[in-house]
């Protein structure tokens, strides 16, 4: 249905011999909402700046519609950017900010048959297009305000309009919602998705907020340490993380050392659990991801595993409870209330278990003991270490 618009080929980038991007390969489809997701310093903003033309890669190619554009300056690219801190021109009002790009444009004169003469966009058309944009961002009547007389959310929308009025093929957004408060951020997420669908162009969005990425994207590219960790739809990324990093970064996950006994059977804590994964060697060591919401709490007798509740946090819709299974602490989300110190059993359905190959990230994530320690320090000393000791059981 959609065709490829941008391709990054073997992209590498280093600042002063400090590698920032390692061999990035990625293609982006027309009209796609693609998110580059990762912690700070993972190279996502650098990737965006390379696409925008603000940074030249050390090696590798950027292709736009099949044409190499490495050396094309930003003002010749059919790409516009919404900057992190908006970067609205403080000396111009809202109207002039949005009209800036149009006033810069020259196009061939329709009256000139040779098409050689370059003319400005007529003032009437500028007026019309800016007004149309103000309508889209619901800021009609604000055209004479200076940016400093607008709220953060309004400035944000002006920045989007200023980019979109040029009718780019691609809009780059660099953490555009970072400076907004939570409520406004949620509204703008929906707003952005609506605008993207309304104008029908490609959005490339950079964020470190996994929830933002899951809400808006068609495709998510998870990055860390200058490399792409996984590319996929939000569902893929959430349900089938490729390694411990992705599993930990997207949502909450318990990541447990396991052994793939054979296809559809994985062993943890010396017990065997049926699962739906395959394609591993028999008895291959693996990482097992279990999402906190996929765990059922049952009585100790009925459970596949038994552990002790060490911490309970009320989260409104559910309780986040930390359960100690032989020293490894799990996060479980449940609507049942389990008091601290209670012995519980758990059951995991086969489709709640996701098996991953071991990677360099194995063993770094997925244990919630630091989480519970934070709470322990605040707690009364009565829930001390001896109770945790007793929680250890086969």
């Amino acid at each position: 249905m959609s065709k490829e618009l941008i391709r990054l080929r073997n992209l590498c980038m280093a600042f002063d011999d400090d590698p920032v991007l390692n061999n990035i390969n990625l293609y982006i489809n027309d009209k796609e909402f693609l998110t580059l997701l990762g912690p700070s310093g993972c190279g996502k903003t650098t990737t965006l700046r390379i696409i925008g033309g603000f940074t030249t890669p050390t090696s590798g190619d950027v292709l736009f519609d099949g044409v190499r554009i490495n050396d094309v300056p930003p003002y010749r690219r059919k790409i516009n950017t919404v900057f992190q801190k908006y970067a609205l021109f403080p000396h111009l009002n809202v109207f002039e900010n949005i009209a800036f790009g149009l006033r810069m444009q020259r196009r061939s004169d329709s009256a000139d048959p040779a098409g050689k003469k370059q003319v400005r966009i007529p003032e009437s058309e500028i007026q019309e297009r800016v007004m149309e944009m103000l309508e889209i961002i619901s800021l009609k009547g604000f055209e004479h305000r200076k940016p400093d007389a607008l709220s953060g959310g309004q400035q944000q929308r002006v920045a989007i309009a200023r980019a979109l009025v040029n009718r780019p093929k691609v809009l780059l957004l660099d953490e555009p919602l970072g400076a907004l408060d939570l409520k406004l951020r949620k509204d703008m997420q929906i707003e952005l998705k609506r605008i993207q669908q309304q104008v029908g162009i490609t959005f490339i969005y950079v964020t470190h907020d996994q929830e933002e990425a899951l809400t808006m994207s068609d495709t998510i590219v998870v990055m860390d340490k200058g490399s792409i960790q996984q590319i996929g739809t939000p569902e893929d990324i959430y349900n089938e993380p490729k390694n411990a990093f992705v599993a930990d970064f997207i949502g909450e996950s318990n990541i447990i050392d396991g052994l793939m006994v054979r296809d559809n059977l994985v062993q943890m804590y010396g017990k065997q659990f049926p699962c739906l994964d395959g394609g591993f060697a028999d008895n291959e060591p693996v990482d097992v991801v279990i999402r906190p919401e996929d765990i059922d709490i049952v009585s100790v007798e009925q459970g596949q595993l038994a552990g002790t509740v060490t911490n309970v946090t009320f989260k409104g819709m559910q309780y986040d409870i930390i359960v100690d299974f032989r020293g490894f602490k799990w996060l479980i989300q449940t609507t049942d209330h389990c008091p601290v110190g209670a012995r519980i059993g758990i059951k995991i359905d086969p489709d709640g278990i996701h098996v991953m190959k071991k990677s360099s990230y194995s063993g770094m994530f997925g244990d919630y003991s630091s989480f519970s320690e934070e709470y322990d320090e605040l707690d009364d000393a009565s829930i001390g270490s001896d109770e945790e000791e007793r929680g250890d059981e086969t």
Binding site: G52, F54, P73, P74, Y75, I79, N80, T81, F83, Q84, K85, A87, L88, F89, P90, H91, F100, G101, M104, Q105, K146, P147, D148, R162, A163, N166
Partner: protein, 284 residues
Amino acid sequence: MKHKLSRFAIPYVIWMALFVVIPIILVVVYAFSSASGGFTLENFSRLGTYTVVFTRSFRLALIATLICLLIGYPVSYMMSKEGPRFQRIAMVLIMLPMWMNFLLRTYSWMSILENNGLLNQLFQKIGLIALYNQVFGTDLTFFRMLNTQGAVVLGMVYNYLPFMILPIYSVIVKLDSSLIEAARDLGANTFHVFRRVILPLSLPGVLSGITMVFVPSVSTFAISKMLGGGTEMMLGDLIEQQFLGGAYNPQLGAAISLVMMLIVVACMVVMNRFGEGEEQAVML
């Protein structure tokens, strides 16, 4: 907090009163009094005879300010584009002459511009004077550079150029680089980025640069005396003569000072009104 601040401000207020407000009041009082002490407007009616000095002063100061701007803006702009190391070195080089005494600096210009000074000797060596004589059929042994209006303007530019560069540079260097990137992103080429973004946003620096060069230039007397040789009398010289020189007449001197001050203040007000919108923009 507010109370504390105002207490700390007391020394400053006293200082201002003693050395700024009272002298201005004295100038006003003197300007309106006769030699015997009574009220008179005679001092002002005599100003008409000095119109030439007024126009010369303002003209030369204006030329010097314009030259400072034409040199200072590009220098500031290019400096801000370089790396931090270059910027530091350039800054020291710009400030370096100011560590030396003002009179010493101006004296050295005298010996450079003299009839048999350094420059004329150099011109002689490279045959520039001979060439000039050949081309224009003259019979010069040196170029007369000292004691001209040009020398006075040169002295002003040399002495006050740093006051133009520093404010402009400090505004440009603080410009948010993402604004420039945004302009480039929106289709502006290098010229348009400068014309539409950098120039309007650096206007406050330009305005304060102009003020800081123009005001001392218009009232200078040492430069015009030393490089202009006293033949090109300027307002500063005129005022000095009334207080210290042979034409001792402090009342007239006060009147001249007052009128000059009012003209300068009027210029500043007009200019600041003109730049007000931009100034607010950068205050952000």
